[in-house]
């Protein structure tokens, strides 16, 4: 079948030479890697030599919507950024929401590959007619909100991605902000952008996206939006959003509390989604083409954080900046959230950094704190720490590379309290309370990440037995593959569609027809490719591990009381997992598997 190129154009920008070229990738890559995460991994793998410094001009920053990004497919606002992470030194993709994807793809370019380093601050402007690399000296130093507001005024109708001071200062967990509150959040894509002296990317495409079967697509979109409208979990997402998880996590015993020392927080009700709905909630917000509208726009109505506005806090932010630092005030969390969004810091890592710093301070392992009393619950100290980290001032410098980087400098056994996998701090699940997530974290391609496979729903619903290794490896492997494909389309984590529906959407938009089996095989291919990238950087079984606290300290309270994820438990799950994956005992994909997947 002749494949029309509904997705295929790359704009390749060299900031060093201030030049660009337009390319197409081979058609068959859509079937093999789809787009987004998968195709980004392919490009990154092919382009980067092993060992490249992520903050050097040799690293590339790939803005890579998938074939469904920016289309009318439900949740098609999602897209991906792929680069080598300065936080982990490994493969990184960040999945982004908001409204950037359609305006980007409508320029006529589906993918931006950004390489090199400008000699002074610049921003990139792309529309249907032109590609410009422009002086950004008047934007440098500004927060993301002001940068975006300024550029939005200068370019009405455009969409903007930008970095804040954290990205400019190369904080390794700096994010790229879109629509103020939507980010390429985890793993430090913002620092890569900062290292390229690239303050912002402005897109203002007005071309029409063409579809392989527009009529069929419109019909299917209607059908899928009906599924969303009637789906009970989507109703809950619309009502409470991701913070619906605060109570469930806490009751399940896996709400990270006090730097992951436990999974139960006595004040969880104070920071719950239900409380948020009653107090600071103003209105729901949806990303482009999304009928779920899980976003919650909030406004603090009284007290010291009066008038603070933010889209959020999301569950992850509440877990890490709330219970994990023992902050039981939604208004303080919302304020810290906004500050991170504006300065350009990942709230998950920043919440971990804060909890870690507080634990070290209380244990007497951290003495020089610029006068900050870093006790658990001291949200004022958290707020000051956020600012110091973004500007790498004083104690902020120490924490500007995350908990692993700080532990390396502090020594004194502090690594024991550093909650990360492969350098990426854990998100809002305390793994002793969710053994599924224990394996998911240990094996996630970008380090301690919840998006590659989410097991708590299955564990709370009895689909996976709790506190057991039974069936975990198979579940994690299959979901990772399926998600890898979904994040390549790109559609959202929350899109409640099945594999046949995802594959059909891909077909209607691009004309590339994959059976369910082929679609899942593509996901597996992508997962193996990101693993190979990491293997090339030195990753193996020794790195598929959990934080010492999780493996050595029994959970003190809650459903998981007395349990820890011992090496024995983890090994059992890893053995099964590697076998199912066709990887060797050391976690390296076998030649046979790579051949089967067409990767070698």
């Amino acid at each position: 079948m002749a494949v029309n190129r509904f997705y295929g154009k790359i704009l390749d920008i060299d900031l060093t030479r201030r030049s660009y070229e337009v390319k197409e990738f081979p058609e068959e890559w859509i079937a093999k890697f789809i787009g987004g995460k998968g195709l980004g991994a392919k490009i990154l793998y092919d382009e980067l030599k092993p060992g490249v410094d992520p903050l050097s001009p040799e690293n590339i920053l790939i803005f890579i919507p998938g074939p469904l990004s920016g289309t009318i497919a439900p949740t098609g606002g999602r897209w991906a950024i792929v680069t080598k992470s300065p936080h982990t030194g490994l493969y990184l993709d960040s999945q982004v929401g908001g409204h950037f994807a359609p305006k980007m793809r409508k320029t006529g370019y589906d993918i931006f590959v950004i390489r090199g380093r400008a000699d002074k601050p610049v921003y990139l402007y792309v529309d249907d007619e032109k590609v410009e690399i422009l002086d950004a000296s008047f934007l440098w130093g500004k927060g993301i909100f002001e940068t975006e507001d300024t550029l939005r005024q200068m370019y009405p109708g455009a969409e903007i991605g930008s970095i804040g001071p954290a990205g400019e200062n190369l904080v390794t967990f700096a994010l790229i902000g879109f629509n103020k509150y939507r980010h390429a959040g985890r793993g430090g894509a913002g620092a890569v952008m900062g290292s390229k002296n690239l303050k912002a990317v402005v897109v203002n495409g007005k071309k029409r996206l063409e579809y392989y079967d527009p009529k069929g697509l419109r019909e299917m979109v209607r059908e899928l939006n009906k599924i969303i409208a009637e789906h009970p979990v989507m109703k809950r997402r619309r009502e409470i959003g991701t913070p619906m998880w605060v109570k469930m996590s806490n009751e399940g015993g896996f709400l990270p509390t006090k730097n992951f020392s436990r999974g139960v927080y006595e004040y969880a009700d104070d920071i719950s989604g239900e409380r948020m709905r009653e107090t600071i909630w103003v209105r729901n917000k949806a990303c482009y083409a999304c009928a779920i509208a899980c976003g919650k726009f909030t406004h603090v109505r009284e007290g010291e954080f009066k008038c603070n506005e933010v889209e959020g806090p999301e569950y992850e932010t509440i877990a890490l900046m709330g219970s994990n630092t023992e902050t039981n005030r939604l208004d303080a969390i919302a304020y810290a959230n906004r500050l991170c969004d504006d300065l350009g810091l990942d709230t998950i890592t920043m919440g971990n950094v804060t909890g870690f710093a507080m634990e070290l301070y209380e244990r007497g392992l951290l003495k020089e704190t610029d006068g900050l009393e870093l006790r658990f619950g001291n949200y004022k100290a958290m707020i000051e720490l956020i600012k110091k980290v973004a500007y790498r001032e004083g104690i902020g410098e120490l924490f500007s590379r995350g908990v692993r980087g700080a532990a390396e400098q502090i020594g004194q056994g502090s690594e024991k309290f550093a909650i990360h996998v492969k350098g990426l701090e854990l998100p809002g699940v305390e793994p002793r309370g969710s053994w599924g997530m224990a394996l998911a974290f240990a094996t996630a391609d970008r380090g301690g990440c919840h998006q590659r496979c989410w097991t708590p729903t299955a564990e709370l619903n009895g689909i996976l037995p709790r506190f057991s290794t039974e069936g975990v490896a198979k579940f994690v492997k299959e979901v990772q593959d399926e998600r890898a494909a979904c994040f390549s389309l790109v559609l959202c984590d929350f899109a409640p569609f099945d594999v046949s529906q995802f594959a059909k959407l891909l077909y209607l938009v691009t004309g590339v027809a994959l059976s369910e089996e082929e679609y899942l095989k593509t996901g597996e291919r992508i997962w193996n490719l990101t693993r190979m990238f990491n293997v090339r950087e030195g990753i193996s079984r020794k790195d598929d591990i959990l934080p010492a606290r999780i493996m050595e300290e029994p959970a003190p309270v809650g459903p998981a009381k007395g349990l820890k994820i011992t090496k024995e438990i983890l090994d059992k799950m890893l053995d099964e997992y590697y076998e199912l994956r066709g990887w060797d005992k050391n976690g390296i994909p076998t030649e046979e598997k790579l051949k089967e997947l067409g990767l070698i």
Copy 2:
């Protein structure tokens, strides 16, 4: 000929009852009043009883794009707001640019009529599917920039009109802000909105605008954009924007200086458009569908106003907040400009108020100033005065009704230095240096306004003799009629098209065919209708007058040195003007004229 309703739907919102209804106006009104200004005047005239308090629930606020607003017609970003002015007590239309019109018309409603008063702060949201009146307590008290940024985040892709503290506090020259820097600026529409407890209007239409002859329209748009591209004055507008007038006005001797005491400013070069281009200019900005791009986005790069950003200052702001207050610093003017835009104050009136206050202070007529040293050139005092006026604090209360209102309270002959016509302060032309503008100001329907007829170009080009009454009345009358039609389409002041082109555009969009003569007759009809509105409020010849300074003090320097617009000169022009208009000696339209125009 059957007229399709390409323009005809009214959304009529009652804030008191929190209800709305959808109406259509009679088809034949398009030929009679076109839309925008003309149709707004018709609705206002029919709806309001004489003597209605503009700040009472009985006043109506009409958001009224014309048939060309929001279409692809060049400069079709323009549209109008019509209401009874709380500043003058008379008819008011404000012409607005930016990007609001298309998003408004694409909701399916061409016109919003807003009546009543909400019992607490609300904002209005309208898209293709719904009309909502929503709680705005979380927005009340905010500046326009923050209000707009917040609502833009909540409603991606939407366009927003909002008021700042000045509108909330019913300052009678409060504006409504759009795209931060584009306003319904003159005459206090923002106070009317504030009096209705309406903080903002959010529109997010996505419907397609239909055209009577889409192919013909597209062809004509190409042709007209070519005219714009090749027109030497448009090139200059693109290069320097409205501040191109600073040097020309100054050389012509009509740049308002030191509260209109003269028309020559020794530091004009320091505040010129050319200087602006070299120093604070960053980038041009265009309104929707405009290839002229006269807007100038600026950024102050150093000094005490470092990082101040604004779209502007425009010529009028430079003239009134610059030379008229003897402020010779572009950075201070840009800062004051931004402050007014955010707090929601008309810069022309605010510059007049400042110059007036400074003159009274220096003359010893103003003693209580909350410690402000209101000397000419003291831009810091101007900045403080702006804040005080917006919040009606201390001395700000005195000036919150403009120069006429302040003079009434101050007495002591201060009215002599109050530069206004019918309560609306004069814009950036000192009329002793431009006799054409003297008559234009005296007769403009909303008071001292430069947009109803602009004579300086004709005077500098020898089309009208300078310092002479010869031909002035005919010129002013004809331009007023022609502009009344243009502001009803609505297209921009700067659109360089002729009457046949305007009329053809109207035909291509609506199917309503007017000959050139009929089109101009429509303009005349509209001008007579606004006059009738004002006559009903008590306006007559006695009010078609100029400020005492202009009529009694000879210009001290410059080309107009020794000249003043005496009562004799003005009377001569008025007599001719009334005759040409078919109005009686007292400036009242005759029954014969009104019948001829089909107004009675």
